[in-house]
């Protein structure tokens, strides 16, 4: 393998100093002067109710209040893929916490006090709290106008029902295959709603100035996508909408697309000239940002006695909440990929986006894959056991290989899946028994595989500018977001490698849609790949200009020139070297005193030109909806207390095929962070609702995310590198994947420990004890 100078080498993050010194400014840390106004939002107390009237006059009278806004002022709907989300609803509220009106005032306190004076008259409607109820005939319609909403051509809302989209896959002959199967296992699995819980809540500041231009400072993963949604929804030319994205205190998908930012935007339009700030409290973050969809999955798998999987019927019923504007694509993406990383010839998949009166759901690290892998990977272990096969061997036997056809008929790309399986099994010593010295405790291991493709529209794209400065340093302008994953460092490394410039001389700029070139969104674990390709191309272009300038000015043949250690050198003249800083701005002086060259720039764009979302809606065949898959595996060793039902993870290992690891420490950080987030969903996390759709645990008192004390003593992040042909230096993403194997691996470990199978997460001590008791009977 080629030896790189920066790529794959340990390094300090380029945003490191800013973060350990507290210089990193998040949106709420920015100063907007004494003119700044604050917004408080009146949220719906009902899960489903007709709005009969909104009376705001009392609120308007409160001293310090500048304006009160509601659906009367802004009746528009917005959405990324399906425009079903009201800025403020005029007809009815659809979930507890939905914004009904907002007060803009001099202080937050005044705004909050005034909000309490708004009177809303509601007529309460029957509400739906369960996706399976929502698809029953005669269920109340949550979006009676579903047929009139604008939607991208590859999603299929079903007007007259509560189904926002359905993705169907039909491959092979499913009925025949089940007939031929020697063994069939069928069961259902349930994964409840969870939340992202980034440490920084959503926050947006907006300014609508006197030249009618809207500027926003948002904590977001999607500056350009937000600009596009705002421009088209509010009818402002794109050039007059500017989204600036400072550091973000965690996203995990929750800050993808747009949500509460639209409220700040329209509030600003009501008070031109004054910046307005809307900051969600933690409770509002739970109730009205986005959640992970709940999943009810039905899995039916047929195998031959030799352990070959020949048929899979996978039905996914997703509760996307009251809006499917983003969640419908989770449903779509998982529909295409719900076979998991296996080669299965006969496939039947239905994936439904089902509306309920719960908060809107959207992207969450893993984009639905965590949820369906829970059922699928539990199923795999169960079947292997029935066949008397080692579950690892069973997985290896069926693991997808390069060239196999995935469910929608496209060939699988290069994959190191088998190696990942082997390395994890070896590290965690699958099959080797460990005995606890405490008679009340059992130690056991569990394993799961994972795969995931970036879920994107087929024409997503990235762009980059590189500009040189007088001292030979560079600024890279891109619009991907540093969410903590190390994006800035990764982009810097790619440019550093091409241009042979050290990381200390590279600054990567935060997005500002006025200035930085386009990026679709920082989601889908695709940004290192997609934006990285754009940066690489920009660096190559800049390099070309450098070489062209030197060649032209100094008469060296272009193909003899190369870059090394911030200098241009020549393969045929070892005495020649020219420092970049000597000419990248001011050019090269000729004998006659004239100059050649000028400021060195590079631009790069990337769009995967081979993808298409246009498939046959009945079979899912005929298109090319995904760019590639990242594959891997994970395993845990747990200790379980038979008497209390408590589970503790002692050891974990995960391996992913990253194609090429750009930053070893950061990649490990993704595995450990993703694992812990996954562990949260396996053992503790669940948003609890009462029967009227009110969240019972909108805080960390009762929504328990992992702390230091839940971290396993031993953790083994492992990487396999089978290059992604179209990735920069072979890279493919791993950020989300690390979370995917955790729920099933822990579930499989519990099954191995106690002989009980839990088909529902989180695996609470109560559920474990109940299952044990049932088994005892």
């Amino acid at each position: 393998m080629k030896d790189y100078k920066y790529v794959g080498k340990k390094s300090i993050r380029i945003d490191g100093k800013a973060k350990v010194m507290g210089a990193a400014k998040y949106t709420d840390d920015l100063e907007f002067g004494p003119n700044l106004l604050h917004i408080a939002v009146l949220s719906s107390p009902h899960a489903h109710a007709k709005i009969l009237g909104i009376e705001t006059s009392e609120a308007e009278k409160v001293p310090g209040v500048k304006a009160v806004i509601s659906g009367k002022d802004f009746p528009q709907k917005f959405g990324l893929y399906l425009r079903d989300h009201a800025i403020f609803p005029n007809d009815k509220v659809r979930y507890v916490g939905e914004q009904v009106a907002a007060v803009i005032a001099k202080t937050k306190k005044i705004a909050q006090a005034a909000v309490k004076k708004i009177q809303v008259e509601y007529e309460v409607l029957p509400n739906i709290q369960n996706a399976l109820d929502s698809i029953k005939p005669n269920a109340t319609l949550i979006h009676p106008n579903l047929g009139n909403y604008e939607v991208v051509p590859w999603l299929y809302p079903q007007p007259g029902t509560n189904i926002g989209h359905v993705r169907k896959i039909r491959k092979g002959e499913i009925d025949k295959a089940f007939e031929e199967a020697d063994f069939i296992l069928e069961d259902q699995y349930h994964v409840p709603h969870v939340v992202h819980a980034p440490m920084e809540n959503h926050i947006a500041v907006a300014l609508f100035d006197y030249e009618d231009r809207l500027t926003m400072w948002n904590s977001t993963q999607s500056p350009h996508t937000q600009r596009n949604i705002l421009a088209s929804c509010l009818n402002i030319p794109h050039k007059d909408v500017r989204v600036i994205a400072p550091y973000v205190g965690g996203g995990f998908g929750g800050k993808a697309g747009i949500s509460m930012e639209v409220i700040a935007a329209v509030a600003a339009m009501k008070v031109p000239g004054c910046p307005v700030k809307l900051a969600w409290s933690r409770k509002e973050e739970f109730e009205n940002s986005s959640q992970r969809q709940e999943l009810f999955a039905k899995v039916k798998m047929g195998v031959k006695n030799d352990g070959t999987i020949i048929a899979l019927k996978h039905e996914l019923f997703w509760d996307v909440g009251a809006s499917a504007e983003y969640g419908s694509n989770v449903v779509n993406a998982t529909g295409f990929s719900a076979i998991g990383p296996y080669n299965i010839p006969n496939v039947y998949i239905d994936s439904f986006a089902i509306y309920t009166n719960r908060p809107p759901c959207g992207a969450y690290r893993g984009f639905g894959y965590s949820e369906f892998h829970f059922g699928l990977e539990s199923h795999i272990d169960r079947i292997a056991k029935k066949l008397n096969m080692d579950p690892i061997e069973f997985r290896k036997k069926n693991a997808i290989k390069e060239g196999d056809k995935v469910a929608y008929g496209v060939e699988m790309g290069p994959t190191g899946l088998r190696e990942c399986i082997e390395k994890v099994a070896e590290k965690i010593e699958m099959g080797k028994e460990v005995i606890s010295d405490d008679p009340d405790k059992i130690i056991a291991k569990g394993f799961a595989c994972a795969w995931k493709a970036p879920a994107m529209p087929p024409n997503e794209s990235s762009a980059a500018f590189i500009k040189f400065n007088e001292d030979g340093s560079i600024n890279i302008l891109v619009s991907g977001m540093e969410l903590g994953q190390g994006y800035l460092t990764s982009m810097a490394k790619i440019a550093a490698e091409v241009l042979s410039i050290p990381l200390e001389k590279i600054r990567v700029e935060h997005p500002d849609t006025d200035r930085n070139p386009y990026e679709w969104q920082t989601v889908a674990s695709h940004t290192t790949w997609s934006s990285g390709n754009a940066v690489k191309k920009a660096a190559i272009e800049a390099k070309g200009r450098i070489i062209e300038t030197v060649s032209r000015a100094l008469n060296y043949k272009k193909d003899t020139l190369y870059l090394e250690d911030e200098m241009v050198k020549c393969t045929v003249d070892s005495n020649f070297s020219l420092a970049l800083k000597d000419f990248v701005i001011n050019g090269i002086q000729m004998k006659d005193g004239t100059f050649r060259g000028g400021p060195i720039l590079g631009t790069g764009i990337f769009m995967p030109e081979f993808t298409s979302a246009m498939v046959d809606p009945e079979t899912g065949q005929g298109g090319h909806p995904n760019v590639h898959y990242t594959t891997g595996a994970g395993a845990v060793e747990i200790e379980i207390d038979k008497r209390t039902g408590r589970v503790r993870v002692l050891k974990m290992a995960e391996a992913f095929d990253a194609g090429k690891v750009l930053n070893p420490d950061l990649a490990k950080g993704q595995i450990i962070g993703g694992f812990m987030q996954g562990l949260g969903t396996a053992l503790w996390e669940e948003v609890k609702f009462d029967e009227n759709g009110k969240i019972l645990n909108p805080n960390f008192t009762d929504y328990k995310i992992p702390t230091t004390l839940e971290v396993p003593d031993e953790m083994y992040p492992i990487f396999v590198e089978v290059a992604q042909p179209d990735g920069p230096f072979g890279v493919r993403g791993i950020g989300e994947h690390t979370m995917i194997p955790v729920m099933p691996a822990v579930g499989n470990a519990i099954a191995n420990a106690l002989g009980i199978r839990l088909t529902e997460v989180p695996f609470t001590p109560e559920r474990i004890l109940a299952a044990l008791e049932k088994k005892g009977k």
Binding site: A18, M21, G22, T707, T708, L709
Partner: protein, 155 residues
């Protein structure tokens, strides 16, 4: 009700007029421009808003500013007056942050803890930091940085 309070803030005596129900967090951020304490849970449950009060880490989101009259507050900004501390260097070296939102709170907590217990075990570090939530790192890089710092310090 308005009150004027005087207290020591990052080594300087300061005075400010506050409402009796104003939170220390808001006063530090909005009236003194000290942005290192962050608002996250607002209920004392995450540690993002931590500052040192008379040398002890406390949660500024559930302390009224009037309570600190006559006391001493040190924020993250005040810890690094002489530049990057060795503990911060260790955080940098270990990439003990991702989004960085929890970092100042974690550093404040670790600072107090290490004063009390300069040679902790890994378990003790984990216990001390159990009240500082970090959604990104999975904590191990944070624990490693602190442990490594104490090892180097001991040498």
């Amino acid at each position: 009700m308005k009150k004027e309070i005087i207290f020591k803030l990052n080594d300087e005596m300061v005075s400010v007029t506050v409402d009796s129900d104003e939170l220390l967090l808001d006063v530090l951020r909005d009236k003194f421009g000290l942005k290192s304490p962050k608002r996250s849970c607002g209920r004392g449950e995450c540690g993002a808003c931590s500052v040192l009060l008379n040398g002890k880490s406390v949660r500024s989101c559930i302390i009224f500013a009037v309570e600190v009259a006559g006391q001493e507050i040190i924020t993250f900004e005040g810890l690094q007056k002489e530049g990057m501390t060795d503990l911060q260097k260790s955080f940098l070296e270990h990439n003990s942050f991702q989004c960085g939102f929890c970092t100042s709170g974690v550093t404040i907590t670790a600072t107090e803890f290490l004063q009390k217990n300069p040679k902790p075990t890994v378990k003790e570090i984990k216990e001390a930091l159990a009240g500082n939530l970090c959604r990104c790192t999975g904590y191990s890089s944070i624990v490693d940085a602190i442990y490594d710092y104490t090892k180097k310090k001991g040498e």
